[in-house]
């Protein structure tokens, strides 16, 4: 044993730089698989644009006069990505929902009559639907809603159901409409910031996160 100590030590001492070199080489090979993106890892969590120009119109107020009127729209959030097209506009589908007066907290604020959510399910990223029919919700989404019935948001993939009349906190503790009443979703749908001008709803920003 004693004779080999020096050799063993030298072997160990030379192994370390060899392993280090191999790790460095592996790193550059593995790095090749990672896409080149402007936001890096944060592109998945941070909103890339807080004030898009020009502002995009989500809906017109004249279409949203009746309670529970719901309009879908596509909001294009552009982010730089490596592809043959250099940039990729991530299309985010959304819903504008006109809430009935009895669910509006602050009636002096015109914005509080509308709920705008990203349609990307915060569970695993499918596009969820607006379900105004109780039987469809029961048969298709496995949730028997209480009476009196009001519409829900529901995701076909893993059957998460969101109640737009109730609040639930997201990861940062902000209370949002769209409490999860059934299914595995961990939080309510992501919101969009908006402004109302000239009878139109403009999107001004999005909550980050989610694979769009």
């Amino acid at each position: 044993m004693n004779e080999n100590t020096r050799r063993t030590f030298l072997k160990a001492a030379t192994t370390i730089p060899i392993i280090g070199g191999a790790v460095l080489a592996m790193h550059s090979i593995l790095r090749y698989f990672k896409p080149t993106m402007a936001g890096g890892l944060d592109a998945l969590t941070a909103p890339p644009d807080t004030a898009p120009s020009p502002p995009q119109v989500a809906a017109e107020l004249s279409d949203l006069q009746t309670p529970w009127a719901c309009k879908d729209f596509i909001y294009v959030r552009s982010s730089v990505e490596y592809s043959s097209r250099k940039t990729q506009g991530a299309k985010i589908p959304g819903f504008v929902l006109r809430l009935p007066d009895e669910f509006v907290k602050d009636k002096s604020d015109p914005k509080s009559f509308y709920l705008i959510v990203q349609r990307i399910c915060p569970h695993l990223g499918c596009t969820f639907n607006f379900v105004p029919d109780r039987d469809v919700l029961h048969g298709g989404y496995n949730y028997l809603a209480p009476q009196p019935f009001h519409p829900y948001f529901a995701c076909p993939c893993h059957l998460s159901v969101y109640d737009p009349t109730h609040y639930q906190a997201n990861e940062s503790g902000v209370e949002l409409r769209g409490k999860v009443v059934s299914g595995p979703a961990p939080r309510p749908p992501r919101f969009m910031d908006f402004d109302i001008k000239d009878g139109k709803i403009f999107i001004t920003g999005t909550e980050g996160g989610g694979v769009g």
Binding site: F33, P35, S83, H158, P184
Partner: protein
Amino acid sequence: MAELAMTPKPGLLARTAAFFRNLVAKRGALGHGYHGVLDAPANLWGWLQDRWEKMDLFDESHTERAKTNPWYAIGGMWYWVWMLVIGSGVLLMIFYIPDTNQAFGSIERIMENWKIGAFPIGSMARGLHKYGADAFIILATMRVYRIWFTGGYKGGHELSFMVALLILIIGMYSGLTGYLLIWNQRALWATKVMATFPTYLDKNPSWIPGGDFINATNQGKTTAQVLLGGTSIGPATVTRFYAFHFMLSFVLMIFFELRVYHRDFKRMNIGRWTKLIIFLIIIAVAIFIPAAQGSPANPEVTPNPILSDWYFLAMYQMLKLQDPYLATILTVGIPFIVIFALFMDRRPESKWGQRQIFNWIGIGGLIYFVLFSFLIINEIADIHRDPPLWYYSMGLFLLIGYFQDWAYVMKRDNKRWWETFHLFFVAFIAVSMLANTLYHYFGDIREHNVRAKGIVEQVMAAKNMTMDQAYGWLESNRPGLNLWHTNEVVTATGKPRGLELWRLHAAAWLGIAALGALVGLKRWGAKRDAQQDAETAKAKPKAAAPAPAAQA
């Protein structure tokens, strides 16, 4: 007498300290553990070398057996099916265009335009590729189960089982990367789910030691970005999946061929007629049920219902039933759980009746796979009704296996029942089953509970009401039922009962596990010590033997 009375009985603190001192002592359980860790690298290397020698890729060591027993020909069969899939895949590569705008159309053209006379070559090639891949997964699954149920991993064949499992996982992943290439709705949403679920690996709760550190390394997000080639499914994803789809088979084949080159054995232990029959079966299926294409991918609409490919259905259903973090850990962890279970089976016996716990683990896995798939295909799954049954049956399977095994050990060792009974194991399972069942039947965590459904049906029958009327009646007359878990109800009734039940369950569970581990460690240490004492006692007479000779 007086002196004896003076010696006080050691207090609880002193006894506890003595217990731990004994544990840490050189010959205690921890002492053995300490030396075990020191010797681990050398032992592990030797262990691996031994298993590497015995590793079985295509059932090549069962060539004689395969002639009479088709279960041992599965290795050759899956290799043959794999070759068919690779061959047809190369044909498809010639016409396929990996781009989001053209992929779906190029598949349509392969199916419709590529013909010789009226003979649809393209449709056949695609059918051979798709059904061949399905056959691959069926055969790989059957092989894993064969090794599991026959105890084929015993006697140093653990690595064979692990490689068989790895082949199955790689096959499933090849399937997933393959069906995105069609660029239809099923493919798009399956890929979205599959690429999003790793992000939950970054959401470890901070009470897990190192949880925050693991979260900070962003493993999940990196995985998602590497898979997608960006933040969302797009052209980059398709080219990536095309590359992965090809690469998985290619790299695996290089490794397998290197092994064949070094060992010089036959890859397929099946005859040419068997090969022809397998080929004809797949071709017949491809002719009579041409591979479906679905509708083109549309990221703005998720169809309802949406299903994954058949081999992912059970896991897909599991994602619906669980908290997403737990579901992710389970999905990633299933292979590790299986391998852990394999290393729990330390007895040399490999006959069916002699290892019932492990048989029941296998049977349970098979039942879940078939049952979940059946429920979801027939649209009779209910995410509120199923989880308790699932948890309950999991405990039940383990208990059935345990009691059968207990009976076997009692008979084998000729012991009384309490001498071979594992109290902590049974208590652990029983508490789990009981608490999970109670939690799901009486807990009002998210939605109306399962218990209420039965009562509603009774009210409907008794009062001749519709379901709506019955719920309305119950809400006004039985407020204690807590039918709807709403903010108001929680505020009115305080904390949900289910949560306390859940905490109680977790505490009891961890307590029993810790106690069981402690007692088990102590017994194991004592057993090791007794063994060592016996060995020393055996060695001593030999050492003493020369002495009488010297005297003589």
